[in-house]
Amino acid sequence: MSKPKVKVAFFDFASCEGCQIELTNLGDTVFLGLLEHIEIVEFREVMKETTSQRIDIAFIEGSFTREADRPRLESIRARANVVVAYGSCAATGGINALKNHQTDYREFVYGKDAEMPHLDSFQAQPISAAIQVDLAIPGCPIDQAEFARIVSDVLHGKAPTVPNYPVCVECKLRETVCRYQSGDHCLGLVARAGCGAPCPADGVPCEACRGMVDSPNQPALLQVLMEKGGLSQLRAETKSRLWTARFRNEE
């Protein structure tokens, strides 16, 4: 390649760093293939080096939960041409946003250490609550194939897209037996696709880790979870909060 390589950095905020781990699972072919075109200048899970230089693409994992994180986010934004919030924590607030509906989580999780100052945080918010984000890729963790496609699009200056159809589409395309036809329930009906629907294929209901489609039919979801999925009303109502708490908050 005669063209200079695109400088890419990975940053993490409130998250499990599972999305970075998932990237290390990309495999030699894809990862080394991408490395022909990109130069990774910061990636905490795999290297010690960090950078304060200009970056072409900044991938940010994790949600924005502390005011203390704002300057670091702003510094990344100022140095990066493209900012991608990747993984559900960064894209939507993700599973962290569950706490937005609770008050006792500090005591519950940390017990006698609950009042330690480094545990101060506010509601879990997507990265876009702090800085301008060019693209948000949800997923818990992100999908490897989607990541590779999005890097490819960004390299070519083609605005990447994230599907706005439900996971049902991807289950059907790969002929997964529907959870509802196995006496189970599933959120795939309203969940944003793009993951390739691996969970139902493994016999696990979709938990909508990528959030919901733009126009989810939520009244029908509640009805289906109770009538076809056999959930109680309380469980049907709280069920879809796991990764979509912030969506509910907004409505």
Binding site: H156, G157, K158, A159, T161
Partner: protein, 280 residues
């Protein structure tokens, strides 16, 4: 309905290579390309037909041809930057390559327009596909009777083909009238929606009318034309839909049983007026 698409390749999805001989930024978002087929062959088409224009890796978009087949050395398209493909197309420049498939669909039925009075009503980007017919009529002016052209834009800055407009303003061959929704400091012409131009003219009932513009325009223009009493088979509309394949397969442009890409994009109004979803 028949179809005048030209797909010469064995694979109907195979594009042909074109050299960009000239480009011109018409407005902030619209760019004009003048193209020639690279294999040296002459590109034959009817005014109003469409192309699938593409850049490898980015995809294809349907675009109406914006020049007349009477101008044989090259042909024009105008692309507005709206999405991923149009952004990639508009990043191309003179001397570079674009790919096309087509011409696709049915353009203006010239047999129904020849020896008739013709009125073209174009709004905004609707001037691009109708420019193919405007040029055609001007080049074969003796084959047509009175020729009026009404053009409406949102603002003077959004007017397309300003050189053409200047020429048409002066030309005795066309009665060109224009309006803008919002004037600016330098605008001395008409201000108001395009129907105001219809109101201030005497339009004979036997006029053949071509309408091309944003969906909202059709409804208001049709109200005026109905008041005049112009038969619907003499009114022609150029419809726009989401299109992918351009050859009547992929389903995106379907309105009832019609495929806009193959059966249109030009329809006589009586063909489509009772089709739900055509103008809603």
């Amino acid at each position: 309905m028949g179809c005048n698409c030209a797909t010469t390749e064995r694979n109907i999805y195979m594009p042909r290579e074109c050299l960009i001989t000239k480009t011109r930024q018409l407005t902030r978002t619209e760019k004009q390309f003048t193209l020639q087929l690279k294999d040296g062959s002459h590109f034959t088409y009817q005014p109003g037909q469409i192309l699938e224009v593409s850049v490898p890796g980015y995809g294809e978009i349907p675009i109406g041809v914006a020049s007349s087949p009477t101008r044989t050395d090259s042909f024009d398209i105008v692309v507005r930057t709206v999405g991923r493909v149009s952004t990639a197309v508009n990043a191309r420049n003179e001397g570079e390559t674009l790919w096309i498939r087509g011409p696709l669909g049915n353009g203006f039925d010239l047999n129904k327009l020849r020896h008739q009075r013709v009125l073209i009503i174009a709004g905004g980007l609707g001037l691009c596909p109708t420019r193919s017919l405007i040029q055609y009529i001007l080049d074969k002016r003796q084959e047509f009777r009175d020729f009026k052209l009404f053009f409406g834009s949102r603002s003077p800055a959004e007017q397309l083909f300003t050189d053409d407009l200047a020429a048409w303003r002066r030309s005795p061959a066309v009665d060109y009238q224009e309006t803008v929704d919002r004037a600016d400091a330098n605008w001395a012409g008409n201000v108001g929606v395009i129907t105001t131009l219809i109101d201030r003219n005497e339009i004979p009932r036997d006029t053949r009318v071509i309408i091309c513009g944003p969906p909202i325009m059709y409804r208001f223009v049709m109200l005026r034309l109905d008041a005049i009493g112009i038969p619907h088979e003499n009114i022609f509309v150029d419809l726009e839909r989401r299109m992918k394949c351009g050859v009547g397969k992929c389903g995106h442009c379907q309105i009832n049983n019609l495929y806009v890409c193959c059966d249109g994009p030009v329809f006589s109004y009586d063909q489509v007026e009772n089709l739900e979803e055509a103008f809603s």
